[in-house]
């Protein structure tokens, strides 16, 4: 592949591709030349023209007031939402009481035994240790609150997801209807789901559980459908050839064959539910998330960490145990059932023993107070590392510089652009990368933002997203390429990525607040840290899956490593890299929005503000803008092939 300096450039495949892109751009330029002067003549303005906005505040406020007034009287609420709400409250409370009745010893024993049966001795010990650590940090009760909410939400998500997945897996028509909906739901930031639920149910546990279900059910549905559709055709044909009925086919072949996907769906549902259950503290979920939320509000990093560690432990344990269930061989028949019985019996014995000993509650003497030492450490950092460190500068300085030199110019630049040029850029990007459908969706989504009247804050959020994505991609590609070239580095990196990918978004806010204080830069930093693992992983996998024969032939022709990367690996891994960009954008957006809690401002702040002040109209409009922004960013970066699954 040594380049020969040819006088006439050869038209190779990349040339043709460029050609197509040029065609699209020319067409777009033509349309723009006609439309832009027209638009400019009527609505000449830098920002989104006021004439084109629709003020939804009044109708939304009226709706929200109407719902609040009628919540106790209207039949829809009395006979439907009321029952749903009551059922949720009752079941969460019931699970919570059972957990409390089992006591810390009982719960720990049960969790350990389940982990042992499903995933072996090592994970069992790890699980037990994780639960004990939760108690040790003085977080036993919040942990149980979160767990109770999770149990109910996960059960409901699994039922809803499995039913939808069955429908989509068995009927092509349902699949065509559900697939785009589920795909879209999967790219939306968690914050977008909060407001509508609150509008109907008010702040409290029912809203938290339902938001969690809405957020966590899609992966179950997607994977159920995928599993049912992915079943080996010949096996199904063989089963049919033996004269089975449709029901027998489903129960004895299709569902068992989809076991792996179903368990992966369960795993993803649990992880998403945990992530959401923590975020839902903003709408009254209580538990660990609430502790983090309260602590962050008063910039009490020590307290936030004490509640954050149990979240991380819970996430890692839940992920590993359910993941092991998916990898392992199916339970070994009767002996397996007997061992389950033993496990349950042992739990009961431990719980009863603890009860008799009067040791139900975690003993106060065993609580390790880490908040104070952590806060002292943070104070020391504030004093010594924040600024004025010779040569390198302090962390707060970095954050300040990043804000002044990157975030501000990008934001001002975006807000300074004429509104139609933003639409044009979106259209051009989306069309060059994807198809005209994705471009149309992206432009419409962007225009909706303008119509909603939140053009400025949305561009502010967008500027944070762009900055974070740029940093993420530079770091992610660099690390990913290194990992793909060095087995040792990849081995070192893998466990780190595993842990980082399981952590709920919320937790990332704690360390960045400790390091950078509050503001937009910390929000961007949290987003980068959150999105980085997925980008690194996809890049590494993409580069490693490049056809070995192509690599070998490049080497045999004497290509240097640099040439191999530039000329063989990167071009062949293009789909994976595009996927990495898409994932990076989606994940970054999710955290930038949550960054509203730590001073990120813009749309995320509007949502939090709306919730805190009971001003649902502001929050709902911001939520809708988040949805549109998510849609736009996803479509702009969407390669023609759809990704397989979410990285989180």
């Amino acid at each position: 592949m040594a380049t020969v300096t040819a006088p006439v450039p050869r038209i190779a495949l990349p040339g043709v591709l460029k050609h197509r892109a040029v065609h699209k751009l020319l067409l777009l330029a033509l349309a723009a030349a006609v439309l832009v002067p027209l638009a400019n003549a009527r609505w000449a303005s830098g920002s989104w023209p006021d004439a084109l906005t629709v003020d939804l505040t009044d109708p939304l406020t009226r709706t929200s007031d109407w719902i609040i007034d009628n919540r106790d009287s209207h039949p829809l609420f009395l006979y439907f939402f009321g029952h749903v709400s009551n059922a949720v409250v009752l079941s969460v409370r019931a699970v919570y009481l059972v957990l409390l009745a089992a006591g810390w010893a009982g719960v720990t024993a049960f969790a350990g035994l389940v982990a042992w049966r499903v995933a072996g001795v090592r994970l069992a010990l790890g699980t037990a240790a994780a639960f004990l650590a939760c108690g040790l940090l003085g977080m036993w009760v919040p942990t149980m609150q979160t767990l109770a909410l999770m149990v109910v939400a996960v059960l409901a998500s699994v039922v809803v997801g499995a039913v939808l997945g069955l429908a989509a897996g068995l009927s092509d028509r349902m699949d065509r209807i559900l697939r785009p909906v589920l795909d879209t739901m999967q790219v939306l930031p968690a914050f977008a789901y909060l407001l509508p639920v609150v509008l109907v149910f008010g702040i409290g546990v029912p809203a938290a559980v339902l938001a969690t279900v809405v957020y966590a059910a899609p992966p179950m549905a997607r994977l159920t459908s995928l599993g049912l559709r992915g079943a080996d055709k010949e096996v199904l044909e063989a089963v049919e050839s033996l004269g089975s009925t449709a029901r027998q086919r489903l129960l004895t072949a299709r569902i068992p064959l989809a076991r792996k996907e179903l368990l992966l769906g369960l795993n993803q549902t649990i992880m998403m539910a945990l992530s959401m259950a923590v975020i839902a503290s903003v709408i009254g979920a209580g538990g660990l998330g609430d502790r983090v939320y309260q602590a962050l509000a008063s910039v009490d990093v020590g307290a936030a960490l004490a509640a954050g560690i149990p979240i991380v432990l819970l996430a890692v344990v839940l992920d590993r145990v359910t993941g092991a269930a998916g990898d392992g061989t199916p339970g070994a028949g009767r002996s397996g059932r007997a061992q389950w019985a033993y496990a349950l019996g042992a739990t009961l014995v431990v719980a009863v023993a603890a009860r008799l000993l009067g040791r139900l509650d975690w003993p106060d003497a065993w609580v390790l107070n880490i908040a104070e030492p952590v806060n002292r450490a943070v104070d020391w950092m504030t004093a010594h590392l924040y600024s004025g460190v010779p040569v390198v500068g302090g962390t707060a300085d970095w954050a300040g510089h990043f804000t002044t030199w990157v975030l501000d110019p990008v934001r001002d630049g975006l807000q300074g652009l004429p509104w139609w040029s933003v639409l044009l850029i979106v259209a051009a990007l989306a069309w060059v990368i994807g198809t005209w459908q994705t471009a149309l969706t992206a432009v419409l989504a962007m225009a909706t933002i303008g119509v909603l009247g939140v053009w400025k804050p949305s561009l502010d959020t967008l500027s944070q997203v762009l900055a974070a994505v740029a940093v993420t991609l530079v770091l992610g590609f660099a690390i990913g390429i290194t990992a793909a070239r060095s087995d040792r580095f990849e081995r070192l990196l893998r466990p780190v990525l595993d842990v980082f990918q399981t952590m709920p978004q919320f937790v990332y806010l704690i360390p960045v607040v400790a390091l950078f204080g509050v503001g937009r830069a910390p929000a961007v930093a949290a987003a980068v840290v959150y999105a980085l693992p997925a980008v690194v992983r996809i890049t590494t996998q993409g580069l490693r899956q490049v056809d070995q024969a192509a690599m070998e032939s490049a080497r045999s022709l004497g290509a240097t490593s640099g040439q191999q990367i530039r000329q063989v690996q990167l071009p062949l891994a293009r789909p994976a890299l595009l996927l990495a960009v898409n994932q990076g954008v989606v994940l970054v957006l999710a955290v930038v929005i949550i960054g509203g809690l730590v001073g990120g401002g813009a749309l995320g702040y509007d949502v939090v503000f709306g919730l805190a002040q009971g001003d649902l109209a502001t929050g709902l409009v911001a939520g809708a803008a988040i949805v549109c922004l998510g849609l736009m960013l996803d479509r702009v970066t969407q390669p023609t092939e759809r990704r397989a699954k979410k990285g989180a």
Binding site: D232, E234, V235, E237, A238, V239, S241, G243, L257
Partner: protein, 361 residues
């Protein structure tokens, strides 16, 4: 190519009702597929032209044959010739577009759902190329699966499955899962599953194509053995000519959805219907397929001791051994009567493939 064709049974009675009677069968994929078989102009088009004209693919075109009781009926053709579609049409795993199929005289296409299930459960069982086993079940439960679907009780189906497992030589592996078996063993499970329901006909869809050559030979011998022991009717799909010649009592050779020749292995090799078939069988060792009945010079030898005394169904390779050993022509004997004589010259003609030309002269 080392072929050993077993001495064939005398052909079964033609007058009995065939197990499968297929008449004018069509399977067309594509838009408005129904119109193709009925339209004489479209129906006569070659496959490529039909696709260009209508966007339809005719996988099976106007195919007719009978499968007689107790025979091994081989459908052979290259990939894309429509043979796998054809065998699936027999039990309507693929719904035929036009034509008639009868099993024991009963119209298959007129069957309702439950009757069709009955057919699949008890009368025709299929063995698949990639086995089609359920990976989450043990060998025994896979074999018993067909019985489970029929609603046979647990104890009884296990016992019956156990017998079949023994019959196909998988004893001691009952508790393994398909993932722990070799390809040959997996296909034995597939075979056992089909046998467990004790069906009237066994349908094989390229069952050994995915296996290594040595294992394939083992499995072919297994099928020959089973057929010898039980005399079950079999329809066998293959793309491997030597397999077809080895197993088939009669062979239907397919090309582009049509049957180009239907006959015994000897007829296919000895008198190919067209150039395509001739090209196909060119490398077949003829002495392994042709019988002395074809090779002999007809007429009684006149004597009473019948030197050599070959059976009429013996293949030429056997006759060569006898003649070479005795240095004398050998007699072909049936029911104690001499039918004819084979000598060096006659046998060499068969090996060289020159006998047809001579007769033509």
């Amino acid at each position: 190519m080392a072929l050993t064709v077993p001495t064939r049974k005398p052909p079964t009675d033609d007058s009995a009702t065939p197990v499968f009677a297929v008449d004018g069968l069509w399977k067309v994929f594509g838009p408005k597929a129904d119109t193709v078989p009925g339209d004489p102009e479209l129906a006569s088009l070659p496959a490529a032209e039909l696709r260009a004209r209508t966007g339809c693919t005719a996988a099976v075109q106007d195919v007719s044959f009978d499968v007689r009781k107790g025979e091994v009926f081989v459908v052979m053709g290259l990939s894309g010739s429509g043979k796998s579609t054809l065998v699936r049409c027999l039990t309507r795993l693929i719904e035929p577009t036009a034509g008639n199929i009868a099993i024991d005289g009963e119209d298959v296409r007129a069957m309702d759902k439950s009757r069709l299930r009955e057919l699949r459960r008890h009368r025709a069982a299929m063995v698949f190329q990639h086995f089609g086993l359920l990976p989450h079940r043990t060998v025994l439960d896979n074999v018993a699966y067909g019985l489970e679907i029929q609603g046979v009780g647990r104890a009884e189906r296990r016992e019956r499955a156990q017998q079949v497992v023994k019959k196909v030589g998988l004893e001691g592996m009952e508790q393994r899962r398909p993932g722990q078996l070799s390809g040959g063993q997996r296909q034995r499970v597939g075979l056992a599953r089909a046998l467990a329901a004790d069906p009237e006909v066994l349908l094989f869809d390229e069952p050994f194509s995915a296996l290594d050559p040595l294992i394939r030979r083992d499995m072919q011998e297994e099928v020959v053995r089973l057929h010898r022991e039980e005399g079950r009717t079999m329809v066998f799909i293959t793309h491997d000519l030597s397999e077809a010649l080895k197993l088939g009592d009669r062979i239907a050779l397919m090309r582009d959805g049509r049957v180009v020749q239907l006959g015994t292995p000897e007829e296919i090799v000895g008198s190919p219907a067209d150039d395509y078939v001739r090209e196909f069988v060119r490398d077949v060792p003829r002495e392994q397929v042709m019988t002395v009945r074809t090779a002999m010079r007809p007429g009684d030898c006149g004597g009473t001791d019948h030197p050599g005394a070959l059976a009429a169904d013996a293949v030429v390779a056997e006759a060569i051994k006898v003649v070479a050993r005795s240095h004398k022509p050998a007699c072909v004997v049936e029911d104690g009567r001499c039918l004819g004589v084979v000598d060096h010259e006659r046998l060499l003609d068969i090996v060289a493939g020159t006998e047809l030309r001579k007769e033509a002269v």
